[in-house]
C-alpha cells in the first residue's frame, strides 16, 4: 500500500520523499471532508515556505481550505493538471492528485510528522471527539 511510505501532518497533508525533494498532497480523509473539489489555487514555483505557512487553497463546493506547508522549503513544482481536473484530489489523493513539490530545508522536520500508523490513530482520535 502506497500510503505506507508517506508521512502525515495534523492538518491532513501527506508528504513523500523523492530525490531530495518532497511531494505534498492532501489525505483521503481530507478530500472526503472537503467533498467535491472544484478549484485548487496553487502556490508560485520558487516561493519560500516555512513549516505551517498556508501554501495553497482548495475550494470545494462546501468550503475553502488551506493546505499548509508540512515542512519548510522552496516550492519546486506544482501539479498543473489540477487546473483542468481538480477532481483528481478526490479521485487519487495519493497519486495523480498530488499538489506541489518542495525542497527540504531541514531533514529533522520530517521527524515531527506522523507515519501511517500514528496518523490512523490520530484519525481515530478525531472520530471519537
Amino acid at each position: 500500500m502506497a500510503q505506507e511510505n508517506l508521512l502525515f501532518s495534523k492538518d491532513h497533508e501527506w508528504v513523500r520523499r523523492e530525490n531530495g525533494t518532497v511531494v505534498v498532497g492532501v489525505t483521503d480523509y481530507a478530500q472526503h471532508e472537503l467533498g467535491d473539489v472544484v478549484f485548487v489555487d496553487l502556490p508560485a514555483v520558487g516561493k519560500e515556505l516555512k513549516k505551517g505557512d498556508p501554501a495553497a487553497n482548495i475550494e470545494s463546493v462546501k468550503a475553502v481550505s488551506d493546505i499548509y506547508a508540512p515542512v519548510s522549503g522552496k516550492v519546486t513544482a506544482v501539479n498543473e493538471k489540477l487546473g483542468s481536473t481538480p477532481e483528481l484530489v478526490n479521485q487519487e489523493p495519493y497519486g495523480q492528485g498530488w499538489v506541489f513539490t518542495m525542497s527540504l530545508a531541514s531533514e529533522s522536520e520530517l521527524d515531527e510528522l506522523m507515519d501511517l500508523k500514528a496518523y490512523e490513530e490520530y484519525l481515530k482520535g478525531i472520530a471519537g471527539e
Binding site: 467533498g35 467535491d36 472544484v38 478549484f39 489555487d41 475550494e59 463546493v61 462546501k62
Partner: protein, 365 residues
C-alpha cells in the same frame, strides 16, 4: 440539539450530521454533487421537518393573514398556496413563508426553522386585534420534500391522493403510508416535486423516509442533505432568509416585487414605506452574478463596484449542475443591469464578476 422525528433514518442512511439552526440534520449522504445531480436528473428525498408550521384560524383569519403577509391572500382558494413575505414596518423581511389556504378561515403558514419563535411572537403581536387564533404547531409536523423529475411517480406509490391533477403551488389532503397528510406541489430546488406534511410518532416518520429512499432506488432517487438543498435553491435563485433577504433589505430591493400587493385590504405591515419606495425608486437591487475567473464567491465576501466596496456576497457557490461559480449580491441600481461588471474580493484577489439573467437554472417543462 433538537431532533426531527426522522432523525433515526439519517443515521441508518449514514448521513453526515451537522447542527443547523439547533437541529441535528444531515448535510449530505452520498455527497453534495451526487445528490444535487440526482435532484436535477432523477430525484432527491429531503427531511425538512425543521421548518415551522403556524396555523391562523378563525372568523378574521383572512384579515389577519392579509395584514401580516405581503401577498394578496384574498386570491387564495382552498388547496392553493402563495409565497409571501412577513414584513417589518420599513418593508424588510421578518421572514419569507408559504401560505396554504386549507379552507375558509383556516390557513397554514410555513416558515423558516431559524425564525419559528420570532415569527410566531411577531404574528401574535401584530394580529392581536383580529378575531383569529394563531398557533405554533411546528413540533407536531414532520415534513419530507421529494424533488426532481421522478418525484411524482415515487410519491404516488405512497399515497391515495391523485397527484397528477395537483398543479404547481397547489396541494391536496389525503393519506401517505396510512397517515393523514398534506401533499403540495412545491419545493426549494427549482425542480418539480412535492412536500409532504404529516403528524406521526418518530418510528413512523423515520419509516416513511427510509421507505421513500428504498423505493427511490429503482428511480435512481437518493436521500439528499442540506448541502444540496442550498446549491439547488441557489441555482434556481430562490432566496435564503438570513443571507439574501433580511430586515435591512426591502422586498423591492430583494427583487421580489411580485409578492408585494399594495392594493389590498387590509394593507400589510410595511405598506406605507414600500409605497413610498416604489414611488421614489430603489437604490440597490439583489442580482445574480457569475464569476469570470477562477474562485468561489462565498457568503460575506466583499463586493467592489468601480473599486469601491459595496456590501457583500449574500450567497455564492460553485453550481454543481451549471459547472460555474454563481452568486447573489445587492448592487447599486445603476450597476445592476444584466452584463454589468464588478468585482468580488476572494482573499487577497479581486475576481471579475458579471450580472447575469436569473434564475441561473430553469428546468425545461
Amino acid at each position: 440539539m433538537k431532533k426531527t422525528k426522522i432523525n433515526e433514518a439519517h443515521y441508518v442512511l449514514k448521513g453526515k450530521m451537522v447542527e443547523f439552526c439547533g437541529w441535528d440534520l444531515p448535510v449530505q449522504y452520498a455527497g453534495l454533487n451526487t445528490e444535487h445531480m440526482a435532484v436535477r436528473t432523477t430525484g432527491g428525498i429531503f427531511d425538512v421537518s425543521h421548518m415551522g408550521e403556524i396555523l391562523v384560524r378563525g372568523r378574521e383569519a383572512l384579515k389577519a393573514v392579509q395584514h401580516l403577509v405581503s401577498n394578496d391572500a384574498s386570491k387564495l382558494v382552498p388547496g392553493k398556496i402563495q409565497y409571501a413575505g412577513l414584513l417589518t414596518e420599513s418593508g424588510g423581511f421578518v421572514d419569507d413563508l408559504l401560505v396554504y389556504m386549507v379552507k375558509e378561515d383556516d390557513y397554514l403558514l410555513v416558515v423558516n426553522a431559524a425564525n419559528v419563535e420570532k415569527d410566531f411572537q411577531w404574528m401574535r403581536r401584530h394580529a392581536a386585534t383580529f378575531d383569529a387564533q394563531i398557533e405554533n404547531r411546528s413540533e407536531e409536523y414532520s415534513q419530507i420534500a421529494v424533488q426532481g423529475p421522478v418525484a411524482e411517480k415515487l410519491v404516488q406509490e405512497f399515497t391515495d391522493v391523485d397527484l397528477a391533477p395537483i398543479t404547481y403551488y397547489h396541494f391536496a389532503q389525503g393519506r401517505v403510508q396510512g397517515m393523514d397528510a398534506i401533499v403540495s406541489r412545491t419545493g426549494y430546488t427549482g425542480e418539480d416535486g412535492f412536500e409532504i406534511y404529516f403528524k406521526s410518532e418518530a418510528a413512523a416518520a423515520s419509516r416513511l423516509f427510509l421507505d421513500l429512499a428504498e423505493k427511490g432506488e429503482k428511480y435512481d432517487a437518493l436521500p439528499a442533505g442540506l448541502g444540496a438543498r442550498d446549491t439547488l435553491r441557489l441555482e434556481a435563485k430562490m432566496a435564503l432568509y438570513g443571507n439574501d433577504i433580511d430586515d435591512s433589505h426591502t422586498v423591492l430591493e430583494a427583487d421580489l416585487g411580485w409578492i408585494l400587493k399594495l392594493k389590498k385590504e387590509p394593507p400589510c405591515i410595511g405598506h406605507d414605506a414600500l409605497a413610498r419606495q416604489k414611488e421614489e425608486g430603489i437604490r440597490r437591487k439583489l442580482v445574480g452574478f457569475e464569476l469570470a475567473d477562477k474562485g468561489i464567491a462565498r457568503h460575506g465576501y466583499p463586493v467592489f463596484v468601480q473599486d469601491r466596496e459595496f456590501g457583500a456576497v449574500t450567497s455564492g457557490t460553485f453550481a454543481p449542475y451549471l459547472r460555474k461559480s454563481i452568486g447573489l449580491a445587492y448592487l447599486p441600481v445603476e450597476h445592476s443591469a444584466v452584463g454589468s461588471e464588478f468585482e468580488v474580493g476572494i482573499r487577497e484577489r479581486k475576481v471579475a464578476a458579471r450580472v447575469v439573467e436569473t434564475p441561473f437554472y430553469k428546468r425545461s417543462k
